[in-house]
């Protein structure tokens, strides 16, 4: 589904990704771990199409199609979803209004009519229940005054509504208490299928206890320096990143 080949990317002339290779197939969950500043969030932004990141070299293929020329919204229409580490506030725009706009814009791009209000309502109810979100929450301004946990839950709610092909969860566990973590992870697990894929970006093992990855990659200095199975995550939790830095540095 997603194929990244020798990807180099920079921001403000500073190279951050220095040759990433990654293949994610439908039905898989990949975890990307690594110390601060290793380029994890940059990788997420580059896949999603954030403008200030310049792709210097390499390719990002989605279902075999090079997406470099596509704007962020076009990538979203193709099923790329990014759960933000720091979701932004949009005052005066309710959670419901925002997701309704997102869904209908995506449908419009595919030449479909707006989703009938009845169906939309039904879907919102279903997905809100899945993530244990109450009705009042849906009428609040997007992310305005939300706690860290509410913000992340809202991100996963949007993911549930948009039903993406490829979901990238950027530090979704940060700011979550243990209950919220369980709810969010539970939601993601229920949304997983053989037709979609999830990339989980995280510092810590604890989220991976709930969302079990098929593969774990360690990103360091803009490269994937080690890949393995979920055992690798345990090893990192135990020993930290220093041994990897040494291995690479050598």
């Amino acid at each position: 589904m997603l194929e990244i080949k020798d990807l180099h990317a920079s921001v403000d002339g500073k190279e951050i990704l220095r040759g990433i290779n990654l293949e994610v197939k439908a039905g898989e969950v990949h975890a990307i771990m690594g110390p601060n500043g290793s380029g994890k969030s940059t990788l997420a932004s580059v896949i999603a199409g954030k403008e200030e990141y310049e792709v210097e070299k390499g390719q990002i293929l989605l279902d075999g199609q090079d997406i470099e020329e596509l704007a962020a919204e076009e990538r979203a229409h193709k099923g790329v979803f990014l759960s933000f580490q720091y979701p932004v506030e949009i005052p005066g725009v309710s959670v419901t209004n925002f997701i309704k706009t997102a869904i209908n814009e995506t449908r419009k791009a595919k030449g479909l009519e707006d989703m009938p209000a009845k169906d939309m309502l039904k879907m919102i109810r279903e997905k809100a229940e899945l993530l244990e979100i109450d009705r009042k929450f849906l009428s609040r301004s997007l992310n305005e005054g939300f706690s860290g946990g509410e913000k992340k839950r809202n991100e996963i709610f949007q993911m549930a509504m948009l039903e993406p092909k490829l979901a990238i969860l950027d530090e979704t566990d940060s700011g979550l208490d243990i209950d919220a973590l369980r709810i969010v992870a539970n939601g993601v697990n229920k949304l997983k299928s053989k037709d979609n894929a999830v990339i989980v970006i995280t510092h810590y093992q604890r989220l991976l206890d709930h969302i079990v990855p098929d593969f774990v990659h360690v990103l360091y200095n803009g490269r994937i320096v080690k890949s393995g199975t979920k055992e690798l995550a345990h090893e990192l939790e135990e020993k930290g990143y220093d041994w990897i830095k040494e291995e690479v540095g050598a």
């Binding site: 596509l70 919204e73 005066g92 997102a102």
Partner: protein, 482 residues
């Protein structure tokens, strides 16, 4: 990755030109340019006005000659040459005795272009309309339906003839002839406008609406609106404005006077979309307007305005809270783009006891525009327990525009409670990217963010017009973020 280049931006703007910028070729009768006593007399004569009205105009003209244009507003423009403007222009096809069916088909076609087919308005919407093109009121629909309730809704020219006692009693009582430079000019030369009277205890069953349009080149529009809500009555009134695209600046100096007698309520909404000039700042309407309402005991006046047009706007819809327990409200969205300049706000004058006022102002600046809020809250010494809440929010797009806030507060009574809040924010690239990532393209994202920002005010508009206003906001800001 696709970039939004200069060329894209230009292409975008090309398609977003002022939608109402057409000129309809209707035969017009226009007075020679320039202003003197003879012109004032001629206007009055043309309109077959009684002697007292002519004298009233001349008095205003005399005062105006001694006055100078105000310069305190935060706007910069080439002063209009008042001797280079024609002060009267009327489509000749109009005969007040004709019914709608007899109206010049070109005129009717123009309304259609404006999206306000009179027939449709009649049938579909519960809206009574008066349409003022250039200087003359063209058609007042629904007159009969309203008449049954004793509501008078007609052009001010007709009212001067048919209801002189009401006009004489109230005209100039809220905005005196000598109030300010533009009000004095308007008082001398106003050519038409709307008049409305709601009798005691009557709740006006429909929205009343006036539609203004400047058509003829080199003319100014000076309309006068006088609205009287008698004791215990209620009315909701809406005015909309457009003008064709022209390279020269057109002058619009209107006066609106509202009188809410005891226990009456007036809701006055404006959607102003005069031609703003082109992207280089050439042309556009100078919108110098005086709007003021007077509240007697327990009365309420609520101003709601959506200002997206005009090259220069100078406008402060105000409330004089004369009666005890009276309430004044001002809800405003002002959008400026390209080289537009707006200096707008309100004055809340608290004279009575327990008077209350609310001010919510939302300024949105894009391009190279300047957007100022200017407001006065005045509590007089005998206004015990007066309360005011003001909130002024500014939203900036890009790095070349400006937002300014000039709040003035004068309090002479210790029991007053006054709150003022102000915020300034910028549409961030992060917000746009967030929307993009959810499949919402940039233009739509801006519209969404702007609508969210303006929501408190949009909610105050009558339903039918809220949708229109929302669309207008989108059109005004399209292509403003590259």
């Amino acid at each position: 990755m696709s970039k939004y280049t200069e060329d894209d931006l230009r292409e975008e703007l090309k398609t977003k030109e002022y939608e109402y910028g057409f000129y309809t070729d209707i035969e017009s009768e226009t007075f020679p340019i320039g202003l003197n006593e003879d012109i004032v007399r001629a206007i009055s004569k043309k309109k077959e006005e009684p002697e007292w009205m002519t004298e009233w105009r001349l008095e205003a003209f005399k005062a105006w000659k001694e006055m100078t244009e105000p310069e305190w507003a935060n706007v910069h423009y080439k002063k209009p040459d008042f001797q280079a403007i024609a002060y009267y222009s009327a489509p000749v096809a109009i005969d007040p005795n004709k019914t709608l069916d007899d109206v010049d088909p070109d005129l009717l076609a123009m309304y259609k272009k404006l999206g306000i087919s009179v027939d449709e308005q009649k049938m579909m919407n519960n809206v009574a309309m008066d349409i003022v093109v250039d200087s003359v009121s063209v058609a007042t629909t629904f007159k009969k339906t309203l008449g049954e309730k004793g509501i008078i809704f007609m052009s001010i020219s007709e009212a001067i003839k048919e209801h002189p006692e009401l006009v004489k009693k109230y005209l100039g009582t809220v905005v005196p002839q000598k109030d300010n430079f533009y009000a004095a000019l308007n008082s001398a030369v106003f050519s038409d406008g709307s008049f409305c009277y709601i009798p005691k205890g009557v709740r006006c069953p429909m929205e009343l609406s006036t539609y203004f349009r400047i058509n003829q080149a080199g003319t100014g529009q000076f309309e006068r609106t006088l609205l009287i809500a008698d004791e215990g009555s209620y009315v909701s009134y809406l005015e909309g404005c457009t003008a064709p695209s022209r390279d020269e600046n057109q002058l619009h100096a209107a006066v609106v006077e509202l009188i809410a007698l005891d226990d009456a309520e007036i809701k006055y909404s404006t959607v102003q979309n005069w031609y703003p000039g082109n992207a280089e700042g050439k042309g556009g309407v100078y919108n110098f307007v005086t709007k003021r309402g007077l509240c007697e005991t327990n009365a309420k006046i609520s101003w709601t305005q959506v200002e997206t047009g005009s090259a220069v706007t100078w406008k402060y819809p105000s409330c004089i809270l004369k009666g005890d327990n009276s309430v004044g409200e001002f809800y405003s969205i002002a959008v400026t783009n390209n080289y537009q300049q707006a200096d707008t706000g309100t004055k809340m004058i608290h004279l009575g006891k327990n008077t209350k006022s609310t001010i919510i102002s939302k300024g949105i600046s894009a391009g190279k525009s300047q957007n100022s809020y200017r407001g006065l809250v005045q509590i007089s010494s005998r206004a015990d327990n007066a309360r005011n809440f003001s909130q002024c929010d500014s939203l900036l797009m890009g790095n070349e525009c400006g937002a300014h806030t000039f709040p003035y507060i004068e309090v002479k009574n210790k029991s007053a409670q006054i709150e003022h809040e102000a915020t300034t924010s910028k549409i961030g690239e992060d917000q746009i990217f967030y929307c993009n990532q959810r499949g919402i393209e940039t233009e739509k994202a801006i519209a969404l963010i702007v609508n969210g920002f303006s929501k408190e005010v949009l909610n105050k508009l009558p339903m039918e017009f809220a949708v229109e206003a929302q669309k207008l906001l989108e059109i005004s800001l399209e292509g403003s973020v590259g």
